[in-house]
C-alpha cells in the first residue's frame, strides 16, 4: 500500500515554525524528517514516522506555494488563496528574508550577478549552509537590490515599504544594497575579523552622511537621471575630498595639527608617545584615504585602507578603544583651530562618519 496522494488544507493555513525553519535552511524533506525525529517530537506527541513524513511534506508544499508570494511580500498581504493571520504573515516574511551571518560576510560587497551565484557552491561548502539556503539568501539580496536600486528616497523606507520587513532587517538590507552597489571589498583576509554588524554600522553612517540624499539637496529637476539618492555616494563630495590633502601636504599645517592634538591629549592618553611618533603616518593615512575616493577602485578598498592605515598600526601599539576615541575626537576637532584650513564643513562631513566607522572597526 503506497500513498499516491496525501494532502491537508486548512481554511487558515497552518504554519509550523520549526518546519519553516528547516525549509528555509534548505533541508530536503527526508533530512527535515530525520531532524524532527531527533528533536524528540515523536515521543512528545506519540506520532509515527509516517505521520511526521506526511506532515513535513504538507508544510513543504505549502511553503513552496507561498514562496512565489514571499518574493513580493505585499502580494502575500493581498492574496486570497492562503488565509493567514497577519502576525503569521509577518513571521513568514521576516524569516524568509533573514540571512545567515556567515553567508552575508561571504557575499557582502560583491556584485550580485550570475558570476557570484556560481560561487555559491563554494560558499555553501565553506560555511556549511546548504546550497538551497545560500541560493534563497542570495536571491533575496538580489531581489531587494533590483527593486530599490533605482528608487528615490530613503533606502530603508523603500525596503520596508516593498518588502514589509522589520526596521532592523530593513536596515541590514540597506547595508547589503549599499555595499553591493559600491562594491566595497570585505573579503580580504585582514578584514575577516569584522562582522556583518560592523559593516552595517558603517554603511548606515555613510548612507546618512556621504550620499546625495544625506545633504538633502534634492535635484532641482525631479526627472533628471541624477544619481540615486541613498544608494550612491555623493560624487561631488568625493571630488571635494581632494581638498583635504592640504592637511598632510602642507608641512606647516601638519605640524600645527600635530601640536594641537598632542597638547590636548598629553597626560590623557595611555599611548601618548606612540601617538606622537605615529601622528604623521596616521594623519597621512586618513587624509589620503579621503583624497583617493574619486577612483572607484579606491572606494572599493575603503575598508582595506582604513584597517591597513589606521586600525592595524594602532592595534600593534596596543591602543585601547578609549585611546582611539580620544585621539579621533581631538584629531577631528583640532582642525577647526587650523586658521589656514578653509574646508571645515567638508572635513566634518568626512571625519564625522569616518570617526564613527573607525571606532566600530577598532576591535580584535
Amino acid at each position: 500500500m503506497t500513498s499516491e496522494l496525501d494532502i491537508f488544507v486548512g481554511n487558515t493555513t497552518l504554519i509550523d515554525e520549526d518546519v519553516y525553519r528547516l525549509w528555509l535552511d534548505g533541508y530536503s524533506v527526508n533530512d527535515a524528517v530525520a531532524l524532527r525525529v531527533r528533536s524528540g517530537i515523536l515521543e512528545q506527541t506519540g506520532a509515527t514516522a509516517g505521520v511526521l513524513q506526511s506532515d513535513t511534506m504538507d508544510h513543504y508544499r505549502t511553503f513552496h506555494m507561498l514562496e512565489r508570494l514571499l518574493h513580493a511580500p505585499p502580494k502575500l498581504l493581498h492574496q486570497l488563496i492562503f488565509q493567514i493571520p497577519p502576525s503569521r504573515q509577518a513571521l513568514l516574511i521576516e524569516r524568509y528574508y533573514t540571512f545567515d551571518e556567515a553567508f552575508v560576510r561571504e557575499v557582502l560587497g560583491k556584485k550580485l550577478s550570475k558570476g557570484t551565484k556560481k560561487d555559491l557552491d563554494d560558499i555553501s561548502a565553506k560555511t556549511g549552509i546548504t546550497l538551497k539556503s545560500c541560493r534563497r539568501q542570495f536571491d533575496n539580496f538580489k531581489r531587494v537590490f533590483k527593486v530599490v536600486e533605482e528608487m528615490r528616497g530613503s533606502l530603508v523606507d523603500n525596503i520596508q515599504q516593498h518588502f514589509l520587513l522589520s526596521d532592523r532587517l530593513a536596515r541590514d538590507y540597506a547595508a547589503i544594497v549599499f555595499f553591493a552597489n559600491n562594491r566595497f571589498e570585505t573579503g580580504k583576509k585582514k578584514l575577516q575579523y569584522l562582522s556583518f554588524g560592523d559593516f552595517a554600522f558603517c554603511a548606515e553612517l555613510m548612507i546618512q552622511n556621504w550620499t546625495l540624499g544625506a545633504v538633502g539637496e534634492a535635484p532641482t529637476d525631479p526627472d533628471s537621471q541624477m544619481d540615486d539618492m541613498d544608494v550612491d555616494l555623493d560624487k561631488e563630495f568625493l571630488q571635494d575630498l581632494k581638498e583635504l590633502k592640504v592637511l598632510v601636504a602642507d608641512k606647516d599645517l601638519l605640524d600645527l595639527h600635530k601640536s594641537l592634538v598632542c597638547a590636548a591629549l598629553r597626560g590623557k592618553l595611555g599611548v601618548f608617545s606612540e601617538m606622537e611618533t605615529n601622528f604623521k603616518n596616521l594623519s597621512r593615512g586618513l587624509v589620503n584615504v579621503a583624497a583617493k575616493l574619486t577612483h572607484n577602485k579606491d572606494v572599493r578598498d575603503l575598508f582595506v585602507d582604513l584597517v591597513e592605515k589606521f586600525v592595524e598600526p594602532c592595534r600593534s601599539d596596543h591602543w585601547t578603544l578609549n585611546d582611539v576615541r580620544l585621539f579621533l575626537n581631538q584629531y577631528s576637532a583640532s582642525v577647526h583651530s587650523l586658521d589656514g584650513f578653509r574646508h571645515q564643513t567638508l572635513w566634518d562631513r568626512y571625519m564625522g562618519t569616518l570617526r564613527g566607522c573607525l571606532l566600530r572597526l577598532y576591535h580584535d
Binding site: 499516491e4 508544499r61 486570497l80
Partner: protein, 1052 residues
C-alpha cells in the same frame, strides 16, 4: 421584464503576464448574462488595470436571474491574433433575490481558469433591481430562502414545517459529447461548469416552486448532489425540508407573497412544465433530440426564443400530464384516500425531514435507523420512452424507507439523506434516515398564529422521551431487549439506539462521546452489466450486516449505548466494494448500561486455545475499562429495587452482564450457553473472526486533549472557545495488486483511516484541548487499485476546566425534573389521536394503526428471515432486516420531551475564553471563517446572506511541474477555499456555516502528465458577531452592519 441586473467592473490586480515581450498585459473584461454580453475598454499595459466601467445593465426575467450565473471573463487583448482568455468568474446572483439577504455583491473575486487555476483578482459590483410586478412569481420562485443548515437557522423561528421537497434534473454531460473530441480541455471544462451552474439554478428554482405550492417560504437542510453518470448523462438532484420561517426579531410572521400564482400553477399543470421543460428536465421526452438540446443549453446565438420553441412545447404537453399522472398513481398506491388537495400530496407521499436537529418539542420518539439501497444499471442511451427513470428509482427507495419506518411504528423519517455511488454503468442508490414520531402540531398549517415554542409549552421536558420506543412492546418488529427508562422509569427503552440525527440538545448524556467507525472491504469479480449488478446486490446485505456488527462491537468496546449521526457509505469500484460507517457514540443516561463483549471459542477443550481466548477476553475487558475512564463514563449506580420491575428479560440480561466482570472462567461458560442468543458474544471459529477481534483492538483512541465526533456538537463538551480550524484532507493509496484478500484489504483500509486520523491529531496538536467536530469521511474508488479517502472536519478549541461542571449541573437538573413529571403517560395516546386526525400533514394515527396491524404479521416473517437474501435480486436489504437479526434499538412513547430553557445554544452557558487572533489591521483581506457546523462558537449569527453552491473543475497537463498529484490537488483545494471566501466576503459576510464538500472527484494519468479534479462545495454565507463584541456594542448594531456589508470599500 421583472428585473434589472447591474454590473460594474472596477479593477483588476495581480494579473498574470500575458505579453512576454513587455512583461505586461492589455486586459479587458466581458460581462455576460444569458445571451447578452458587454465589454469594458482595454486597459493597456498593466497588471493592475483600473477599468472603472460604466454600469452594465441586463434586463431579464427573474426566472433567468435564478437559473443563470453572471459570467465575467477577463481577456488579454491581442491585435494580431485571437484574444487570450485569462480566466473567469461565475457569480451566483441568487442571494440578491431574497428580500432579507445581501443587497449588493461587491468585492475582489479570484479570476479562475480551469487549466491555470487562480490568476489574479477582479473587483466587481453587482446589484439587482426587482420590479414590483404582480406576476413576479409566475415561473420563478424568487424569495424562497435556501439553507444548507440541517436545523432551523439560528436567527429564525419555524412557524410550520411543511415537509419533504425533492427534484432532479438531467442533461448530457458535455465531457461525453462528440464535440468534446475537437474542443480544447478548457472549453470542455467551462461548458461543464456552466452547465452545472445552470442546472443548479434551475433545480433550486423548481424546488422553490414546490415550496411555494406548499405555502412555505424556505428550504432548510437543502442538499444538492451531482451524479456524474458518464455517457448516460449528468444528474443534478436535490432534497430539502420546506418550512415557513419567521425572522426572530420581526414581530409578524412572514408569509409567502405568492398565494395566488402558486394556486394558479397547481390548477393548471399544463402551463407549468413549459416554463422549465425546455431546460432539459428529466420529465421532457424531447431530451433525446441531442441536437436541439445542444442549442438550448449552450447556444448564445439563439435567444430567449427557446422558451417557447418547439422543444419545450411538446415536452410540456406530454411531460406535464404524464408526471401528474405518475404522481397520482404513486399517491394512490400510497393508500391516500379522500380528496386531499394536490399541493399536499408530496408531503403525504414522503413524510421525510432532512433536518438533523429540531425545534424543542418536535421530536417525540425515535425508532431507529432505516435505510434502503438499490443497485441500478445506468442506461447507456437515454430512453425517450422512460424519461422518469431516475425519479422512479428514487421514489421506489423512498417508498421502502417509508415502509421501514412504519414497521418501527413511526410515521416520519428525520435526518434523511440520499446518496449514490457510480462505477461504470452500475449505480448504487442509497437513502437513510431515522424513523421517528413527530409532534403533529408542528406540521399543521393553519395554526400559524402560535409559534412552535408556544405550542409545546404544556409538555414538560425530561430529556429521555425520544429514547422511548414508538412501537408496541407486544408486537415488536424484531427481537429487542427492553427495559424501563433509566431516567424516568416509566417508559420502555431499547438497550441500544442508532440514529442519523444529531444528539438532541436536551438529551441526558453521561461522559463524553467519540467517533466510531466501521470499515469494510469486499472483493468482487469484475463483471459486466447485469452480472455485475447482481454480484453487487448479493454482496450488499453481507456488508451491511458486517458494518452493523462492527459498529455494535465498537460501541460496546467504548462502553456506550447509542449512536448519533450515523452515516453509512457503500462505494462501488471495479473489483471491490467498500463500506464506511461513521457515527458518534454516546452513553445515554436513559438507556441501560451496555454489556461487555464476550469471546467464545469453538473448541473449549483445548487448553492453550482457551488460554488464548481468555487472554483476548482480558484485553477486551481492559479496553472497555480504559475507554470508560477516557470518556468519563461513570453512570450513577442504579439500585436493583428501582429497576426491578416486571420485564424478566432485561433482568436476566443485567445479571448476565454483572457476571461477566467476575472471572474469565465463568465467562467462558456463560458464553457457551448464551452464544446463540446474545448479540454481543463474538464467536471465534476461524481466523477471520480472530482478525476481526484484533481489528477491534487496533483502533487507537485519540491522543489526550483531543476528542472527535461526526455530529454538530460533541456530547459532553459545551464550553467551546472561539478558535476554529476547518480543513480538508485527501489521501489516495494504491493497493499492491498481488493476490489481494478481503483481510488484507480490510487491514489496509483500516490503516489508511487510522493513519489519516493520527495525522490530523498531529497537525492540530497546537489547538489542544480541542475537538474535531463533524468529521466527515468520504471514500471513493477512482481506479482499480486506488482508494481515495476525503475528510472534512472542523477543530474547535474548548475550555477544559468548565466542561465537567456544566454537564454535571445539567444532568442533575434533568434528574430532578424527571422525578416530577410522571403521570402523563396515559394521556398520550388520546392526545396524539386528537391532534393528528385533523392534521393533513402526517396521518399519524392511520399509520399507527397500520403499523400495528402489519406488525402482527411481520414477526413471523422475521423469524424466518435468517439470511434469505435470494429475494434481493437487484435490491439490497435495508437496515431493518438486519435489525431483525440483531438486537437493536427501540422505545415506546410518552409525549414528554424536554424544552431547554436556554435557547439551544450549543456553546452552553459557560464563559468563553476569547482566543481569537488579533484583528488584521494591516491586511486588506478580511477573515472569512468556514465551518461544517451550523454555528460559530463564541459568536452570534446575525444574518443569513444566501446559499453558496459552487462547482469547479481543474485540469492540468503539466502534473509534474505542479508538484505531482499532491501539489496539484493541494493548490486546487486551497483555491476552492479562496473562491468560497471571496464570494462570502463580496456578499458582505464573514463566515460560511454548514459548509460541505459534496464531491471531490480526482482522476490522474501520470504517464500523460495529466490530472483532473472536480469539486462541489456548498454552505450558507452568514454575518456573525462575536458575543464579546455584541455585549460591548449592543447599541451600535448599525455600525456592524455597515462595516460588514461594505467589504468592497475595505478592500479597495
Amino acid at each position: 421584464m421583472p428585473g434589472k441586473l447591474k454590473v460594474k467592473i472596477v479593477a483588476g490586480r495581480h494579473l498574470p503576464v500575458m505579453d512576454r515581450a513587455s512583461d505586461l498585459t492589455d486586459a479587458f473584461v466581458e460581462v455576460k448574462f444569458g445571451n447578452t454580453t458587454f465589454k469594458t475598454d482595454v486597459y493597456l499595459k498593466s497588471l493592475n488595470p483600473q477599468w472603472n466601467s460604466e454600469w452594465f445593465k441586463f434586463e431579464v426575467d427573474d426566472e433567468d436571474l435564478q437559473d443563470e450565473p453572471l459570467q465575467i471573463t477577463v481577456l488579454d487583448h491581442d491585435t494580431y491574433s485571437a484574444n487570450d482568455a485569462i480566466g473567469k468568474v461565475y457569480i451566483d446572483i441568487d442571494p440578491l433575490l431574497y428580500s432579507e439577504a445581501a443587497t449588493v455583491i461587491s468585492g475582489w473575486f479570484p479570476i479562475y481558469d480551469t487549466i491555470h487555476g487562480i490568476r489574479g483578482e477582479i473587483n466587481v459590483v453587482v446589484k439587482v433591481d426587482l420590479f414590483n410586478d404582480l406576476n413576479r412569481f409566475r415561473q420563478s420562485s424568487c424569495g424562497v430562502k435556501f439553507f444548507c443548515t440541517t436545523s432551523i437557522p439560528k436567527c429564525y423561528r419555524a412557524v410550520v414545517i411543511h415537509g419533504f421537497v425533492e427534484e432532479l434534473v438531467v442533461n448530457e454531460d458535455p465531457e461525453y459529447q462528440w464535440i468534446d473530441r475537437i474542443r480544447t480541455p478548457r472549453a470542455s471544462n467551462e461548458a461543464r461548469q456552466r452547465l452545472i451552474s445552470l442546472m443548479s439554478g434551475e433545480l433550486q428554482r423548481k424546488i422553490g416552486l414546490k415550496v411555494l405550492e406548499m405555502r412555505g417560504n424556505a428550504v432548510v437542510g437543502y442538499l444538492q448532489c451531482f451524479d456524474l453518470e458518464g455517457e448516460s448523462g449528468l444528474v443534478v438532484r436535490a432534497i430539502g425540508t420546506a418550512c415557513t420561517l419567521d425572522k426572530l426579531s420581526s414581530p409578524a410572521a412572514f408569509l409567502p407573497a405568492c398565494n395566488s400564482p402558486s394556486k394558479e400553477m397547481k390548477e393548471s399543470p399544463l402551463v407549468h412544465p413549459p416554463s422549465h421543460g425546455c431546460r432539459s428536465t428529466h420529465n421532457s421526452p424531447i431530451h433525446t433530440a441531442t441536437g436541439s438540446r445542444l442549442t438550448q443549453n449552450f447556444s448564445v446565438s439563439v435567444p430567449t426564443l427557446i422558451y417557447t420553441g418547439m422543444g419545450s412545447g411538446s415536452a410540456g404537453k406530454e411531460g406535464g400530464p404524464f408526471k401528474a399522472l405518475l404522481r397520482q398513481q404513486t399517491q394512490a398506491a400510497l393508500e391516500q384516500r379522500g380528496g386531499s388537495p394536490h399541493r399536499f400530496c408530496r408531503r403525504r407521499e414522503f413524510p421525510f425531514l432532512t433536518l438533523t436537529a429540531f425545534p424543542p418539542g418536535l421530536l417525540v420518539h425515535v425508532g431507529g435507523v432505516v435505510s434502503a439501497r438499490s443497485v441500478k444499471l445506468l442506461d447507456r442511451i437515454h430512453n425517450p420512452d422512460e424519461p422518469e427513470t431516475r425519479d422512479a428509482w428514487w421514489a421506489e427507495i423512498r417508498q421502502e424507507i417509508k415502509s421501514h419506518a412504519k414497521a418501527l411504528g413511526c410515521h416520519a423519517v428525520v435526518g434523511y439523506s440520499e446518496s449514490t455511488s457510480i462505477c461504470e454503468e452500475v449505480c448504487i442508490l442509497s437513502a437513510s434516515g431515522t424513523a421517528a414520531v413527530l409532534n403533529p402540531r408542528f406540521l399543521q398549517e393553519g395554526t400559524v398564529e402560535g409559534s412552535l415554542e408556544q405550542r409545546i409549552e404544556e409538555n414538560l421536558p425530561v430529556g429521555c422521551g425520544f429514547c422511548h420506543i414508538p412501537y408496541d412492546e407486544l408486537n415488536m418488529p424484531f427481537p429487542a431487549h427492553l427495559t424501563y427508562c433509566y431516567n424516568c422509569r416509566k417508559q420502555k427503552v431499547p438497550d441500544v439506539l442508532f440514529t442519523t440525527i444529531d444528539l438532541p440538545t436536551d438529551a441526558v448524556v453521561v461522559g463524553k462521546g467519540c467517533l466510531i467507525q466501521a470499515r469494510l472491504c469486499r472483493l468482487k469479480k469484475k463483471a459486466q452489466a447485469e452480472a455485475n449488478a447482481t454480484a453487487i446486490s448479493n454482496l450488499l446485505p453481507f456488508m451491511e450486516y458486517e458494518v452493523h456488527t462492527q459498529l455494535m462491537n465498537k460501541l460496546k468496546l467504548k462502553g456506550m449505548n447509542a449512536l448519533f449521526g450515523l452515516r453509512i457509505q457503500i462505494t462501488v469500484g471495479e473489483n471491490m466494494l467498500m463500506g464506511l460507517a461513521s457515527a458518534t457514540g454516546v452513553y445515554l443516561a436513559a438507556l441501560p448500561t451496555p454489556g461487555g463483549i464476550q469471546i467464545a471459542g469453538k473448541t473449549p477443550n483445548d487448553g492453550s486455545y482457551e488460554q488464548h481466548i481468555s487472554h483476548m477476553q482480558k484485553r477486551i475487558n481492559d479496553t472497555i475499562a480504559k475507554n470508560k475512564e477516557l470518556y468519563e463514563i461513570n453512570p450513577p449506580e442504579v439500585s436493583e429495587e428501582i429497576i426491578g420491575s416486571p420485564i424478566p428479560e432485561p433482568r436476566q440480561r443485567s445479571r448476565l452482564l454483572r457476571s461477566q466482570s467476575e472471572s474469565s472462567d465463568e465467562v467462558t461458560e456463560l458464553d457457551l450457553s448464551h452464544g446463540k442468543k446474545d448479540a454481543f458474544v463474538l464467536e471465534i471459529d476461524d481466523t477471520d473472526a480472530m482478525e476481526d477481534v484484533h481489528s477491534l483492538l487496533t483502533d487507537v483512541p485519540p491522543p489526550s486533549g483531543f476528542y472527535s465526533c461526526n455530529t454538530e456538537i460533541m456530547p459532553g463538551i459545551n464550553n467551546w472557545t472561539s478558535e476554529i480550524q476547518m480543513f480538508t484532507s485527501v489521501r489516495v493509496v494504491r493497493l499492491s495488486s498481488l493476490n489481494l484478500t478481503n483481510q488484507a484489504l480490510n487491514k489496509n483500509f483500516n490503516g489508511l483511516c487510522e493513519n489519516l486520523l493520527k495525522s490530523l491529531y498531529f497537525k492540530l496538536r497546537s489547538m489542544t484541548p480541542c475537538c474535531l467536530c463533524h468529521v466527515n469521511f468520504t471514500v471513493s474508488l477512482p481506479e482499480d487499485e486506488l482508494i481515495q479517502v476525503t475528510v472534512t472536519a472542523v477543530a474547535i478549541t474548548f475550555d477544559k476546566n468548565q466542561a465537567l461542571q456544566t454537564t454535571k449541573a445539567h444532568a442533575e437538573k434533568t434528574l430532578q425534573r424527571a422525578s416530577t413529571d410522571n403521570d402523563e403517560l396515559l394521556q398520550f395516546p388520546l392526545e396524539l389521536c386528537s391532534d393528528s386526525l385533523p392534521a393533513p400533514a402526517f396521518p399519524a394515527t392511520k399509520e399507527h394503526l397500520e403499523s400495528a396491524s402489519s406488525n402482527s404479521g411481520t414477526p413471523a416473517a422475521q423469524r424466518a428471515t435468517s439470511v434469505d437474501y435470494s429475494s434481493f435480486a437487484d435490491r439490497c436489504s435495508s437496515w431493518i432486516e438486519l435489525i431483525k437479526l440483531k438486537a437493536q434499538t427501540i422505545r415506546r412513547g410518552s409525549i414528554k420531551t424536554t424544552v431547554t430553557v436556554e435557547k439551544a445554544s450549543p456553546m452552553g452557558d459557560g464563559n468563553f475564553r476569547n482566543r481569537s487572533a488579533p484583528p488584521c489591521a494591516s491586511s486588506t483581506v478580511g477573515v472569512v471563517k468556514m465551518t461544517p457546523l451550523s454555528f460559530i462558537p463564541g459568536a452570534k449569527i446575525t444574518k443569513y446572506l444566501g446559499i453558496i453552491n459552487m462547482f469547479f473543475i481543474r485540469e492540468t497537463t503539466s502534473l509534474r511541474e505542479e508538484g505531482g498529484v499532491s501539489g496539484f490537488l493541494h493548490a486546487f483545494i486551497a483555491e476552492v477555499f479562496a473562491m468560497v471566501r471571496a464570494h462570502v466576503a463580496a456578499l458582505g459576510g464573514n463566515a460560511v456555516v454548514s459548509y460541505i464538500m459534496k464531491q471531490c472527484v480526482f482522476m490522474e494519468n501520470p504517464s500523460k502528465n495529466q490530472a483532473q479534479c472536480l469539486i462541489n462545495v456548498s454552505g450558507d454565507a452568514v454575518v456573525f458577531v462575536r458575543e464579546s463584541d455584541l455585549e460591548a456594542m449592543s447599541t451600535q448594531q448599525s455600525a456592524v452592519n455597515c462595516q460588514t456589508s461594505c467589504p468592497g470599500e475595505v478592500t479597495t
